[in-house]
Amino acid sequence: MTARVLLLHGAVIVALFLLQFVASDYAVLTATRIMVLAVYALGYNILFGYAGLLSLGHAMFFATGLYAAALGVTRLGMAVPEAFLFAAVCGVIVSTVIGLIALRASGVAFMIVTLMFSQAAFLTVLYFGDITRGDEGIVIKDDQRVFSLFGHVVNLADPVLRYNIALVFLALAIAACLAVVRSKIGHVLVAIRENENRTAMLGYDVKRYKLIAFVLSGSFAAFSGAAYALLFAYAGSTLASIQYSIHPLLWTLLGGAATVLGPVLGTALMFLLVDFASGFTSASLLFVGVVLILLVLFFPKGILGTLRQRLWRWLP
């Protein structure tokens, strides 16, 4: 791994760490949310950007983590760290099962299969409405978000602490992504994206690599969902809807698919754009729609993808 790659990604983390000392209260809160959701986008990018598989159903994994954590804490009496672990395990299991089935399809069929599975998951949340409270959802109470870790009492209601927890998650996710991308797995995934048949002919077990990408991606999403539920104290079926499958696609495309930092940049930019736009227009849907269309037409590689093409060829 080259020094400048490490330097760049390290610098991003350090910059984010320093941000909390200079930024306004609102910026700290917003950045917390962005970092949690960026983990979702980072995972999405492994599948979409590197392996070239466009999923329209990642909300089901996000929701898996969301509900595993929320129900774990409110119904099963878990402490917060257990709930995180439980959500991650659920994420791995669900994404493995769905991956084994969905990966038998490819191209447009894969997109629709994931869309349909996700819709079924959304309906399942509604079906068990007596437990999930359906669209109204579950609020996690303050005392359920306090836990002790290595002898320290941790309260997730503290915004500064929460910011740093989200930052740790983001840093781990970026590091994991970098490791995957620069490893053999990453290279094989890109080879599959570019030419699946040739990769298979070279003797690689294409199915296994695709499954690895799928499970990694789904688990990131589930972890992000768990963090969302526990840090912001709410889980509801809206967060399992199609809208939340489209979000990570949009973020990844904007920032640049198949670049490690692209999804992070995309999440942040989209967030700020919508927030900025809502200040003078209520037509935020229009805004998102136009951005999507313009991206497809003029910047199919996204911001960092275009930069890599033009300037920084070394960008991972």
């Binding site: 629709i112 079906y127 729609g289």
Partner: protein, 293 residues
Amino acid sequence: MGFFPHLLLAILEGTVAAAVLALSALGLSLVFGVMRVVNVAHGEFFMLGAMLAWFVAKSVPGGPAAGFVVALIVAPLAVGALAFVTERLLLRRINYDPEATIVATIGLMFVIQQLALTVFGADAKAVSAPFTYRIALPWFGFSGYKLFVVLASVALLLGVWWVLAKTKLGLIMRVTQFDRETATAFGIPVNQVYSAVFVAGAALVAIAAVLIVPIQQAHYLMGLDPLLMSFIVVIIGGLGSIKGSVIAAIIIGLSDGIISMFFSPTLASIIATLAVALVLVFRPQGLFGVPAR
């Protein structure tokens, strides 16, 4: 209510549901079949058709029947025009790349939703049927207009089938569907065929919306449901097979009513969506389609 009337109601409702499904899916099936791209904004074209039906009914004097007839002309023309612009400015420029098309039409979906909200407002809008006739059965009543929708959808499906199977235009479309390169080699203007198919698909879904909206209502977020249902029908039926879509619509329409007599309706929807996913995985050509080349 006894078993027989219950069954009769389930069959009647199932037939109407099948007609609604087949109507909404027809345009998507055509576009998907010939162009091999998924138009996510399909549901929004449906919504626009319904909104226009409401707008026309409100503006045209002479009662619901007059409004209905005018809407049957205005809605497909307007929605077709929008589709034409979309095809020229968007799909053609991204060279009908399947993934880019999905992303671009998701964007289009948001744009159309927002414009509909701004122009037509957020409340649900009722549209009068061109005629009201309640068929009074001994056990329950049934809307005569719903049966008219069934007849209209049969007529429309036959019309489209005739164009595809018996006319030169249909032949050209089928050749294009079969293989784009071969079609080009035979001197078929593929771009113009694509354009025509995309516009025709949009116009068909707009007609479907005008027919269906009197038994539902117009609302700016109504597009998602016909989109998902159309996907289900087109996939189970087999991509590009109109006949398959019709059979799928009938199966789903009738079985949905019966499944939800035994299970909860949400469970019925879960089963239907999972069935689509599994059909796609294990029989990608659909139940009635032929494998793609």
